[in-house]
């Protein structure tokens, strides 16, 4: 018989404890320290680090959104890049062309993308697996083709996107992105724990049984589409503002694959897994870049040696992560926590 020793602080004794998002004191302190560290980053970091962190936070938002569809509900979506493009161009039109305030345009970008996602999801409700992924795959090319032919947004040449007045510098845009990311993560964690999150899990695991117990598959799948689209739209809008310029070339199909990689590596079906995956996939290539620069500087190897080698290293790291952490980085994190929690006991 296996016995797990769990400290009292991990036990939930009443409903109030269940409602707390971060119930344990040490986790609360860690979270505050992390937030403070992020808030203080612009005081010492230059444009490169701030740009990297901004890019990572945008990836976190997109990954969380995609995980609602793929990880939580089990609906494979290949339209992430297209949804981000919809959000990005909506921001360009409303903030750039119509002059709306930044946050208003950001909200509209999220809502329009959510609507687009529901419009795609509605006729494909009965599709599953490969067939659903093909439908979203086609949607990607339709969106990119339409954008590339629309004169109003500059066709293939693209369109410029203004940054918010209070977010012109790298530091201030970092805070804008940080605020939006924090809000959406808070929302995402609550969704995960809510009826919606649990129902999505039921649909993913046994959709017929879920229907049998009264869960409306159609309604909840559409909610998953909507939330996923909203997050993707906001991520796309922030991406557009960050670059200050977008074109169809910024949303290749490879971007969808990258986001799928993030949630696969991070952990399907968890918001924290999406965060881990996005951070991992955003920072590892930069780490490889620095490592290769150091090696090139100190050896006689030509810079071209690392051109494709970087992709190979990156692929190896992904494969190793999937082999040694099959439940993703989130699963690895949970296992590590349990190990130290129960140490020196093995169970």
């Amino acid at each position: 018989m296996q016995v797990q020793i769990i400290p009292k602080r991990y036990l939930k004794e009443n409903h109030r404890d269940y409602l707390k998002m971060v119930p344990i004191r040490i986790k609360q302190v860690s979270l505050v320290l992390l937030l403070m560290a992020l808030i203080l980053t612009p005081t010492w970091a230059g444009g490169y680090v701030l740009g990297l962190l901004t890019h990572t936070m945008i990836a976190v938002i997109g990954a969380v959104g995609l995980n609602f569809m793929v990880g939580f509900t089990g609906q494979v979506s290949l339209g992430q890049a297209a949804y981000m493009a919809v959000g990005a161009y909506t921001m360009a039109i409303f903030a750039g062309q119509f002059g709306l305030p930044f946050f208003a345009a950001l909200l509209i970008a999220g809502l329009i993308t959510a609507s687009a996602s529901v419009l795609v999801g509605a006729p494909t409700l009965h599709l599953k697996g490969f067939y659903l992924s093909m439908a979203t795959f086609v949607f990607h090319f339709i969106v990119i083709m339409l954008i590339g032919r629309w004169d109003f947004v500059g066709t293939q040449s693209g369109i410029s996107v203004p940054r918010p007045v209070f977010g012109k510098s790298d530091g201030s845009f970092f805070y804008v992105t940080f605020t939006v990311t924090a809000l959406l993560l808070y929302c995402g964690f609550n969704l995960e724990r809510s009826y919606l999150g649990r129902a999505w899990g039921a649909i993913r695991d046994r959709d017929l049984a879920a229907a049998a117990v009264g869960i409306s598959l159609a309604r909840l799948k559409l909610w998953a589409n909507a939330w996923s689209g909203f997050y993707a739209g906001v991520a796309g809008a922030l991406f557009a503002s960050f670059l200050s310029y977008i074109s169809p070339e910024h949303f290749p199909f490879l971007l969808t694959i990258q986001y799928l990689g993030m949630i696969l590596v991070g952990g399907l079906g968890t918001v924290l897994g999406s965060v881990f995956g996005a951070v991992f996939m955003s920072l590892i290539p930069e780490g490889i870049r620095f490592l290769s620069a150091v090696i090139v500087e100190h050896t006689k190897l030509a810079p071209t040696f690392f051109g494709d080698a970087q992709l190979v290293f990156f692929g190896i790291i992904i494969i190793c992560t999937l082999i040694y952490a099959p439940k993703g980085l989130f699963g690895f994190w949970e296992d590590t926590k349990l190990y130290f929690r129960t140490w020196p006991l093995s169970y």
Binding site: V32, L35, M36, I39, L40, P42, T43, W44, G46, G47, Y48, V49, G51, L52, H55, M145, G148, T155, Q156, S157, G158, S169, D170, G171, S172, F174, Y175, F239, F242, L243, S244, Y245, S247, P248, E249, H250, P285, E286, R289, A293, A302, P303, T304, F306, G307, D308, Q310, L311
Partner: protein, 416 residues
């Protein structure tokens, strides 16, 4: 008590944010002379060293490294300082290009980013480079230069103008207009194809020659349908604006359909003898190419000959064999940047380099491209002319030989 502690926590975080916001704004401006240390000048480049555009990045990189090595070892550097060159891989991805350029500017503190390859990449980074006042080089679509970009320099003639020159050549020199023949243009459906179409369309309308255009996905190699469309249209001339592998695939399909057409590459990037290594030689002698920058195999060009001799001496026979336009482009970028640094003098800075480049007038690189003039230009692009070369097969080897002088566009093309 709990409410009070929550309120105090929120207040503390808010104060922290306000304080840090103010500090972060103050932390932005550069105060030193970046890119210059006691004995080194740092020059950066953001190149596609991986991915489908890797041949462009690697070709450019080889020439940049060769030229900077030459300057360091045989010329003693620039004004007594050695050049340290840092290349970053952006994989032709605008998102990666942003990170690569930010690293070069804020971490490595380079004096210039020369070059950034690709329209999508330069469009993503030009705002940042403009704000930081960093000299950058790019070629050769006109789009990135439209607007107020005083630190963005181009080398070579924009694709719009080259495509117009190509249409003019077909219409007048090859007699298509007189014979009532039409042109079929195949371009990638992206920011590379768009300016080509713009210039060709304007010229075709002005010259009264029929132009049919078909846009294809950039990386496609499926051209059977395109070849059928060319056959149906009855066009005698095909302007192939697709990258090397695409043009080769198109030629194979056209050959399979047994069409008697003449091909024209509408700009520097498309005008390559290397296409025939993939496509076979059937259309080699019915191939013309427009280019503003000398061809890598043109040993009559003194600068090209000099560069080829240096690669030969270094034993880089693979570089000599590959007919890659980007070897030339990297060379002329390096030469122009070094000239700008020389003119800026020993107390060079980012701003001084930019000023000296902007004042450049009729700078003769000794070949490679027409003399460079940025002075008085609204858009910092030097090229307004291009020449046409024809494919020839000698001893089973296909090469391109210039058959015209540098000529202007037959129509006025406004880039602003």
């Amino acid at each position: 008590m709990k409410t009070k502690s929550k309120f105090l926590s929120v207040l503390f975080v808010a104060v922290l944010v306000i304080v840090c916001y103010g500090k972060s704004e103050a932390a932005e401006p550069q105060k030193e002379v970046p890119g210059i240390s006691g004995d080194k000048i740092l020059i950066g480049a953001s190149l596609p060293l991986s991915g489908p555009a890797a041949y462009a990045g690697r070709g450019t990189l080889e020439s940049l490294i060769m030229y900077y090595d030459y300057i360091n070892k045989e010329q003693g550097g620039v004004n007594g300082r050695q050049i340290k060159f840092i290349a970053e891989d952006d994989g032709y991805d605008p998102g990666k290009a942003v990170q690569a350029v930010r690293k070069l500017v804020t971490i490595d503190k380079v004096i210039a980013v020369a070059p950034v390859i690709g329209t999508p990449c330069i469009m993503a980074v030009r705002g940042f480079l403009n704000t930081e006042k960093i000299v950058a080089f790019n070629g050769i679509s006109g789009d990135p230069f439209i607007g107020n970009w005083p630190y963005l320099f181009g080398l070579g003639t924009p694709y719009e103008i080259q495509a117009a020159i190509g249409v003019g050549f077909i219409a007048n020199d090859l007699g298509a207009k007189k014979a009532g023949d039409s042109i079929y243009m195949v371009i990638p459906d992206d920011a590379f194809g768009a300016p080509q179409f713009k210039g060709a369309d304007l010229a075709a309308k002005e010259l009264g020659i029929k132009l049919t255009v078909e846009k294809v996905p950039r990386q496609t190699d499926q051209f059977a349908g395109v070849a059928m469309n060319i056959k149906r249209s009855g066009a005698r001339y095909v302007m192939a604006g697709t990258p090397r592998t695409g043009t080769a695939a198109l030629m194979r399909e056209v050959e399979a359909q047994q069409l008697d057409v003449t091909f024209l590459g509408p700009n520097d990037v498309n005008t390559e003898a290397a296409i025939f290594d993939l496509a076979g030689k059937k259309y080699a002698e019915k191939y013309y190419g427009v280019h503003s920058i000398s061809l890598w195999e043109d040993e009559n060009d003194p600068l090209i000959k000099w560069a080829r001799d240096r690669f030969k001496a270094a034993g880089k026979m693979d570089v000599l064999k590959e007919k890659n336009f980007f070897y030339v482009w990297g060379l002329i970028v390096a030469k122009t940047v070094v000239e700008g640094l020389k003119r800026a003098g020993p107390d060079v800075s980012r701003e001084k380099l930019a000023d000296n480049l902007r004042n450049m007038e009729n700078f003769d690189l000794g070949g490679g491209v027409a003399p460079v003039t940025y002075k008085g230009q609204t858009l910092l692009i030097t090229g307004t002319t291009a020449r046409v070369s024809k494919g020839t097969v000698v001893g089973g080897v296909v090469s391109l030989k210039p058959i015209t002088e540098q000529r202007k566009s037959p129509v006025a093309i406004k880039l602003q």
